[in-house]
């Protein structure tokens, strides 16, 4: 099963197997197999999860990180499918509570299937995933997943507690980012460590650290694009601002603005939820005045360097190459 074999005879075949589109297809197939059920609504939800898919960035991250450690593809696909199922369940419940109609340019599940279906469907995704996970009979996997799910729901609750709060501290925001996004990438790193049979201290491994850094970067980049290049996400801009969610750009602006500008910003924050379109332009001009885009870009660049340094230390050059390549595709979106 080892793909990065030195055996030249297998090279063509293995390259094909490790092609990102192929990894995504395998992941989708595995998700489908785990979620198979005889209820119509389950089949539809399963199809929706497989089809809506997004970039499958969590399974891809796990897969290439694992391949860079010479780990078997099947195990990585299975664990990646589980990460994606947990992620999908969390998105489904997030859809319901936000009354969000569109996610990344597509109508949400809540709109397509109804709130009731989505709450129960999310529950079923999660429980079916956990049942499959349990069948793998590895208590360390279970520890990583139950920790991650717990952190995920706690972060969702924390975000809800601070929703609409203009004064959300940077520290709270960091905790939300860690719990909402970084946690599943950190879990991917820990799972790779466990699969490498070096189970002790899997959370304090280089792999878990890389996952956490990558996850944080991924979220901060998303929050950055929401203000400064929403089109690249196929989203309308300032979604977070409109939803009353304070992210890094807003928090930096709030901290840097003089009292007069801060008052203007506070009013825009209050008015935008009433549908005041002018507020959007006011926020963006203040962002420009205080050079928030540059400040955020600089922080993202530092994150990128740290991540690339860690990626460079991975043992297997080909998978490392793919990970860096994929990572750079993400960078390309941002810096174009």
């Amino acid at each position: 099963m080892l793909v990065f074999s030195r055996n030249a005879n297998h090279e063509g075949e293995t390259k094909k197997l490790d092609f990102p589109q192929r990894v995504i297809a395998q992941t989708n197939k595995k998700i489908d197999a785990i979620l198979r059920g005889d209820l119509k609504i389950l089949r539809n939800l399963s199809k929706y999860v497989v089809k809506s898919g997004g970039k499958r960035i969590r399974p891809l991250f796990l897969y290439y990180l694992g391949r860079a450690h010479h780990l078997p593809a099947n195990d990585l696909i299975a664990l990646g499918a589980l990460l994606e199922i947990v992620h999908a369940a969390s998105l489904l419940h997030d859809d319901v509570v936000d009354h969000a109609d569109v996610r990344r340019g597509k109508p949400t599940a809540a709109r397509l299937f109804g709130n009731k279906e989505v709450v129960l469907g999310g529950d079923h995704l999660l429980s079916t995933g956990l049942k499959y996970l349990n069948s793998l009979k590895n208590t360390h996997y279970m520890t990583v997943f139950t920790d991650a799910i717990c952190a995920l729901t706690e972060a969702e609750l924390l975000q809800m507690e601070y929703q609409g709060n203009f004064a959300t501290p940077l520290k709270i925001h960091a905790r939300i980012v860690d719990g909402k996004t970084a946690v599943l990438f950190r879990a991917a790193g820990a799972l790779v460590k466990i699969l490498s049979n070096t189970q002790a201290d899997f959370y304090h491994s280089k792999e878990a650290q890389l996952g956490e850094l990558f996850g944080r970067y991924f979220q901060h980049r998303d929050d950055f694009l929401d203000y400064f290049d929403a089109k690249s996400l196929k989203k309308k801009g300032l979604q977070d601002f409109k939803n009353g969610i304070a992210t890094r750009p807003l928090i930096f602006l709030r901290e840097n603005a003089n009292p007069h500008d801060r008052k203007i910003l506070t009013n825009a924050w209050k008015n935008i939820q009433k549908g005041n379109v002018q507020s959007e332009a006011i926020v963006l001009s203040l962002m420009q005045k205080y050079a928030i885009e540059e400040k955020c870009r600089e922080l993202l660049r530092k994150d990128e360097e740290e991540i690339l340094d860690l990626l460079a230390t991975l043992p297997e050059p080909k998978a490392r190459g793919v990970l860096i390549h994929e990572f750079e595709k993400i960078l390309a979106v941002r810096t174009k």
Copy 2:
């Protein structure tokens, strides 16, 4: 820790420990300890779950069944608390999707805390419970709980699929009862078997069978009372009929009624959801005409006999006595 010790010196103390109110108090304390968190909403939800409580029939069933097998109280309290947390999480999500404002005479969590809080709060209950369960490091426990949670959500989805369907077959209804209610009692039985260190085939044990029978009986009794003695549940009558949920009384009536009466019943089914108060009286008079109360009562009595026969085979007489006593208190409500 063994309560049913022959040592006379401990008898007073141990009797106190095994008193149902004491078991409930210990269970509540344990639930509180498992759910402890630093978020305000979590503290409130935890309080709500502990306070709203209901009869804690699942933990009590597990406790006395376990004591009847001479099992340590601490383990039984912990597992019972977990059963109750899973049950509470399921009720929270059920509240949201039903837009139910009152459950057993109390305002629902969704009303008290908001939909958003309840979806995420339910997720957090479940994930915190699973995290604690995982820390007990018993893969058989994990199997029982993940199976149960999966069956629970599948039954909720099945019930949703058939909601409003007048022609719901008895077989589907039985599957919903098994998944929605019997499953957690069956799990209690299986957990007792696992804790007795006879892990093989814990699902095919007498204990799991007893749990399943008891759970089914408990649900059928609830459905019976909803038509024939709702006051004893502190509920308004015909809730299931009004919510478009077909239970045994309705299914029997539908099957027994002549074509003319079936047509009347079908119209009542359609009209009651539009708030037609007369429909209620029509349904009840048809129930009387076809002696549905007596038919259901007869089936419940058969279940009771089967359960009492199984209870009589339990090894420990005192705990067995309490279980039978508690069970008879349930009977008393029904047959008064």
